[in-house]
Structures are given as structure tokens and as C-alpha cells.
């Protein structure tokens, strides 16, 4: 889960990291009030959960109050990579001598946390990694003992060339790593970490991604979730325990298992169709969950045909078949609140099903009087669904 810059800054400040906090505003008038309080000039930063805000015009400096309300109004009207900007963060504009990058991630290859730091801060670190990887210094951390002071000091010395500054840097790095541990983060990042005129280091930005698997032990962080701009179908699906990602094509797909779901989407594309979504119904699925999955798909107006591709293991084909019946209204188990199939009954779009594995025969029997089309293998099923979607 991603959280906003201002939320990450609150968590960093609580860990006594030196951060430039600022004031959050949802209207141009509030931004103006904030700027008066902070004092000009100020920086106005869009709070959206995607990278590349600067390039999209979401970060601006304002030198007069007129500029503040003008720029804040404009940024609040922006949509960045499809996400509407609902909040801005107003901060003091700071003079500084140098911009550093400091971040921690978990490296899949070494299975260890890694500290990354660079004197080339202020730009996208992925860009630095691509163009001049030698500018990024990395230190592996033994997770059983944590980041040691000497490791951070050494990096600080190489970046800043001064023992006093290196000590300051080391303290910041250790605090940042402790936030990563305490909050179960998959990423913590300060970009830029600036060296001010007075020689103090200050975090101008803050980024923090949480490990979804660990959210259960941080209920206070779940409250930071921001669904704004998320597809309503995706939100409803997540709440129902389905893994759904909306795409722009016309062929809906319901699959068990993430890998098979991706392979199904790929095959649709390979045969000339466009997948409308990724949807994994997960293991041990109930008929009700399957029915919900169908409703989520039918709620997407672009969907013109649905492919159900199930390789039964823990997922039983007869459960899937019953779910299809519920969704098509042929079994009346009541309506499900929170879901809208945009008024479309299942019969409105053709459904092609490929059901193999656990209880496949029972599934065929359950669906024998339905209008569902069957296919025996994945390739045939994909060809058929593309044909009927036309």
C-alpha cells in the first residue's frame, strides 16, 4: 500500500527525522491561508499516489500570494496518470547547497534490506540507476543485527566528504531504517535529502510503501489508505477478497491463480483481442465469490464477452459453475450489496467457460441448461471468446 507524502512525513517526524512538514490544503483558499502562515516563497506539491508529479506539473514554487492561489487552484484541478489531485502540500521554499538521495528497499536477490544513497538526489532514482548506476552507493544490511552506524557513516563520508555531516547523515539513515522496520515497509525514501546553507540536513520529500502482508499488525496504517481515484470496481473487488485490476479492453476474464490469469490475458492479446481486466478469484472459492466476480466484470461497460478459465485444484469447478448460475439469476440467492453490474444481467454478454480439474464433470452437469459456451482447452477458449465478442 502506498501513502501520501504528507502522511509519510508525519511518520518520519514521529521518528524524529528532520523533515519539512508543511500544511495540507484541499482548496486554493486553504492553500493561501497556509502560505500566509508559512511565509513566502512556498512550494505547492500535489498529493497523489504516483511518481513523476514534478514532470506532470504537480510541483510548483509560488513567490506571491496571487501565485499561490493561482497555482494551487491549477494543481488541484490536475489529474496525474489518471489520478485526480484532491490535496496539495504547502511547504516553505528552502535554499540548499546539495541534494542527496537516501532510500531503503528489500533486495529480492540477496533477500536482505539494502540502503541506497546518492549525491545525485532530486531526480527520479530509477533514471539515475539507468543512466549512471555508479552514482548510487549500496550497502547490504544483515536483518538480524540491522543497519550499523559505521555502514551509514561510511556512505555519508563518501557522499558529503565531511565527518560531521557524515555523522548527521548516519543518524538520519538509522532512524529511517528503524521506521522501515517498525512499520513493515517495502520501501522508505527521502528524495531529496538536502544540505542547507547552515550545514543541516533536511528531508524535503518522503516516500513510504507498506508491505500489504504486514498491514494486519498495523491497524493504524490501514486508516491512511486513500481510495480516491481508484476504480470503484477495484475497491469493491478488494473488499470482497478478489484480486482485480481494470484494463481497457472488451474481453473480461475470470481465472483462478495470478499466473494463469496473466497468461490468459496474454493469450487474448496474442489472438487479437484486448483483455478488459486481470481477475484472480483465489483458491478455495465459494460460489458467491464467483458470482461477485461476474458482477464486477459486468459493471465494466466495455466488457462484451467473458472468459472463465479455471484449472481446478483447491478451487472446485462445481463451485465456479454454481457461481455462474447465481450471477445469471438462474439460482436466486438474493442480491449482493455494494456491487453494481450496471443493470446488465449475465445473459447480456456471452460467456465462454473452460473448466478443468477438481469436479469438472459436476460443473458441466450444473451448467448443462445454461447458455454458457464451453471449450476444452485454453487456446480454444480464447479463440472462441474473441469470436463471440465481435
Amino acid at each position: 500500500m502506498k501513502i501520501h507524502e504528507y502522511q509519510a512525513k508525519e511518520l518520519f517526524a514521529a521518528a524524529s527525522l528532520p523533515v519539512l512538514r508543511g500544511i495540507v490544503a484541499t482548496t486554493a483558499a486553504d492553500a493561501l491561508k497556509a502560505a500566509r502562515e508559512i511565509g513566502l516563497p512556498v512550494v505547492i506539491k500535489a498529493q497523489v499516489l504516483v511518481g513523476g508529479r514534478g514532470k506532470a506539473g504537480g510541483v510548483k514554487i509560488a513567490r506571491s500570494l496571487e501565485e499561490v492561489s493561482d497555482l494551487a487552484g491549477r494543481i488541484l484541478g490536475l489529474s496525474i496518470k489518471g489520478l485526480p489531485v484532491r490535496k496539495v502540500l504547502v511547504t516553505q521554499a528552502i535554499d540548499y547547497d546539495a541534494e542527496l538521495y537516501l532510500g531503503f528497499i528489500i533486495d529480492r536477490r540477496t533477500r536482505k534490506p539494502v540502503m541506497m544513497a546518492s549525491a545525485a538526489g532530486g531526480v527520479e532514482i530509477e533514471e539515475v540507476a539507468r543512466q549512471s548506476p555508479e552514482k548510487i552507493l549500496k550497502v547490504q544490511i544483515d536483518p538480524l543485527i540491522g543497519l550499523q552506524a559505521y555502514q551509514a557513516r561510511d556512505i555519508g563520508l563518501r557522499l558529503l566528504g565531511d565527518a560531521k555531516l557524515a555523522g548527521q547523515f548516519s543518524a538520519i539513515a538509522q532512524k529511517l531504517y528503524s521506521v522501515m522496520l517498525a512499520k513493515d515497509c517495502s520501501l522508505v525514501e527521502i528524495n531529496p535529502l538536502v544540505k542547507m546553507k547552515d550545514g543541516k540536513l533536511l528531508a524535503l520529500d518522503a516516500k513510504l510503501n507498506l508491505d500489504d502482508n504486514a498491514l494486519y499488525r498495523h491497524p493504524e496504517l490501514e486508516a491512511l489508505r486513500d481510495d480516491a481515484g481508484e476504480d470503484p470496481g477495484e475497491v469493491a473487488a478488494r473488499e470482497a477478497g478478489l484480486s482485480y485490476v481494470k484494463l481497457n479492453g472488451s474481453i473480461g476474464c475470470v481465472v483462478n491463480g495470478a499466473g494463469l490469469a496473466m497468461a490468459t490475458m496474454d493469450l487474448i492479446k496474442r489472438y487479437g483481442g484486448e483483455p478488459a481486466n486481470f481477475l484472480d478469484i483465489g483458491g478455495s472459492s465459494s460460489p458467491e465469490k464467483m458470482a461477485l466476480a461476474m458482477k464486477v466484470l459486468l459493471g465494466d461497460r466495455n466488457v462484451r464477452a467473458v472468459l472463465v478459465n479455471i484449472f481446478g485444484g483447491i478451487t472446485r469447478c462445481d463451485d465456479v459453475a454454481r457461481g455462474l448460475l447465481i450471477a445469471s439469476g438462474e439460482l436466486n440467492l438474493g442480491t449482493t450489496p455494494g456491487f453494481s453490474s450496471a443493470g446488465r444481467p449475465l445473459g447480456a454478454v456471452p460467456v465462454v467457460a473452460r473448466l478443468i480439474g477438481t469436479n469438472q464433470k459436476e460443473a458441466r452437469d450444473i451448467l448443462k441448461d445454461s447458455k454458457i459456451l464451453f471449450a476444452d482447452d485454453m487456446s480454444a477458449a480464447v479463440r472462441k471468446v474473441i469470436e463471440v465478442a465481435r
Binding site: 529480492r108 540507476a129 538480524l144 502482508n213 481465472v255 496473466m262 485444484g313 478443468i356 485454453m378 487456446s379
Partner: protein
């Protein structure tokens, strides 16, 4: 032969009295696996079907001579179960539990270093050496004893691929589902290295997906070390950037982890890439 599990595998099921543990313990027994016991603290003396339940892995191992364990406990308790199994001397621990916090696995892997226990998973479907032993939650249908080794990050996609191999008439030596999480105990290279030395395995299929760079590293390993024919499949060519596609590891971020990069790495390493599951059959026929 096969890799990691065979006729001599003696399995304990940790969390055997839970719904999934009880179901799969008996299903594996039905598939011919020697399920020698189960563990649920506080439930010693009970039975699940014909399988005896013990209070701890130490107790169960002493009573049964188990060498392998499988974990079905909830995510919050999963790493504790792995520590217990490793401490009791279990050689292979297969963790099925899904949703284990990443940092817990990171610490666990650091602790396991230098110990003799191999961890498979978490969040994996397990593994099967058809006709010998199954330590997993997969159905028997798609598998048949044979000579193709399969290693995969996925569950049901693995069944699909194995089904193609079986229908082509070859069958599998061992099929390993390593799991879809970012941090896992056994990776592609561990499996490739075992398949390389396994006489029963004459060809290898790697089933990868978007996210991370495990496939690229596997490709480098294949190029340098493996003389058996290797085939590859990558799921997620149509996946949009920055969206999590079900598996925690399947996210394309910052330009790394793209399907196209992985396919290119495979091709450069001499791995024959299949663009749909059905192609595996024809490609195998041309090389075996």
C-alpha cells in the same frame, strides 16, 4: 530420481487440524505420499483420518522419523512454524501459508543461512514428483511420472503447463512451485541446479512472471551451467506498470521486471521461449 522429494519422503503436516491442513494431509496420502504425522500444539493424541497428531515438531519427528514438513498455519504464525521445523532437524520445509510479512521471511532466511534446512515458499503450491511423492496442494490430474523438470513462480499456471507436458506424452520428474512472493526460500537457481544433477530430468521448463529479476538471473545460470534443453514461459506481457497482479512479487516498477526483458534474457541464454502454453508440447517434441 527426482529433486527434493521422492519415495523416501516422510511428511509432517504443521497445522493439520485446520480445514486446509486436514484436507490436504489426507489428499496427499491418497496420492501416495507417506504422511507420517501432523502437528498442532495442544492437540496431541487426536487423529486426522489415520494420521496421528503431535504437540510439537520435535515430538513428531522423534516418533515418526519425518524428514519433510509442510505448513498450513495462518500467516502470522508461519515463520514460527518454520523455525520450529528447522530447529527440530527437518530437511525440507514447504510453507503454503499466504500473506506472510516480507520482513519476517527476510529475517528467517538470514537465520536459515548455514543450516541444513531448505525452505520452499512461502505462498507456494508445493511440489510433486509424480508417482513418488506429493508435498503440495495441486490436483493429481495434470501430472504423470516422466522426464521433464518444471520450476514455476505460479500455481494454477504450473498445472496448465504440466498438463501440456503430460498430454504431449512426456510426464514430469519433479514440478516445483517456488511461490509468488518477493522473498522466497528456494529460487529458480536452486531448482535449476538440482535439475542439472538429476539423471531422471532430461529437459527443464521455467515458468516465470513479471516482477523482479529472478528470471534474468535464472537465464544467466542456464547459459553458464546447463546443457539439458531448457524451455521458458513468461506470464504478464499485457500487465500494466505499477499494478500488483495478484502475487506480491508481480509488479512492474521503475522499468524493471518487464516481461519483454525476461523473454529477451531467456532467448539470449538459449532458452526456447513458448508464447502460449500449447507451444510447450511442440517445442518439447522438437528437442526430445
Amino acid at each position: 530420481m527426482s529433486i527434493f522429494i521422492n519415495h523416501d519422503t516422510r511428511l509432517l503436516v504443521q497445522g493439520i487440524t485446520g480445514r486446509d491442513g486436514a484436507f490436504h494431509a489426507q489428499a496427499m496420502q491418497g496420492s501416495g505420499t507417506q504422511v507420517v504425522g501432523g502437528v498442532t500444539p495442544g492437540k496431541a493424541g487426536q487423529k486426522v483420518g489415520a494420521i496421528s497428531v503431535y504437540n510439537s515438531v520435535f515430538e513428531a519427528r522423534a516418533a515418526t522419523g519425518a524428514n519433510t514438513s509442510m505448513i498450513f498455519v495462518p500467516a502470522a504464525f508461519a515463520t514460527d512454524a518454520v523455525y520450529e521445523a528447522a530447529d527440530a532437524g527437518i530437511e525440507l520445509v514447504v510453507c503454503i501459508s499466504e500473506g506472510v510479512p516480507t520482513f519476517d521471511v527476510v529475517k528467517l532466511m538470514a537465520w536459515l543461512k548455514g543450516r541444513k534446512t531448505r525452505l520452499l515458499g512461502p505462498n507456494c503450491p508445493g511440489l510433486i514428483s509424480p508417482g513418488q511423492s506429493k508435498v503440495g496442494i495441486m490436483p493429481d490430474l495434470p501430472f504423470k511420472p516422466g522426464k521433464v523438470g518444471v520450476v514455476s513462480r505460479s500455481g494454477t499456471l504450473t498445472y496448465e503447463i504440466a498438463w501440456q507436458i503430460t498430454n504431449a506424452g512426456y510426464g514430469e520428474s519433479t514440478v516445483v512451485g517456488i511461490g509468488g512472493d518477493p522473498i522466497i526460500g528456494t529460487n529458480f537457481i536452486d531448482c535449476l541446479s538440482a535439475f542439472k544433477d538429476d539423471p531422471q530430468t532430461e529437459a527443464i521448463v521455467i515458468v516465470g512472471e513479471i516482477g523482479g529479476s529472478d528470471e534474468e538471473e535464472a537465464a544467466r545460470y542456464v547459459r553458464a551451467n546447463i546443457r539439458k534443453p531448457v524451455f521458458g514461459f513468461i506470464a504478464g506481457q499485457t500487465a500494466p506498470a505499477d499494478k500488483r497482479m495478484g502475487h506480491a512479487g508481480a509488479i512492474i516498477s521503475g522499468g524493471s521486471g518487464l516481461a519483454a526483458d525476461k523473454i529477451k534474457a531467456f532467448q539470449e541464454a538459449g532458452i526456447e521461449v513458448c508464447f502460449e502454453p500449447a507451444e510447450i508440447a511442440t517445442k518439447l517434441k522438437s528437442r526430445l
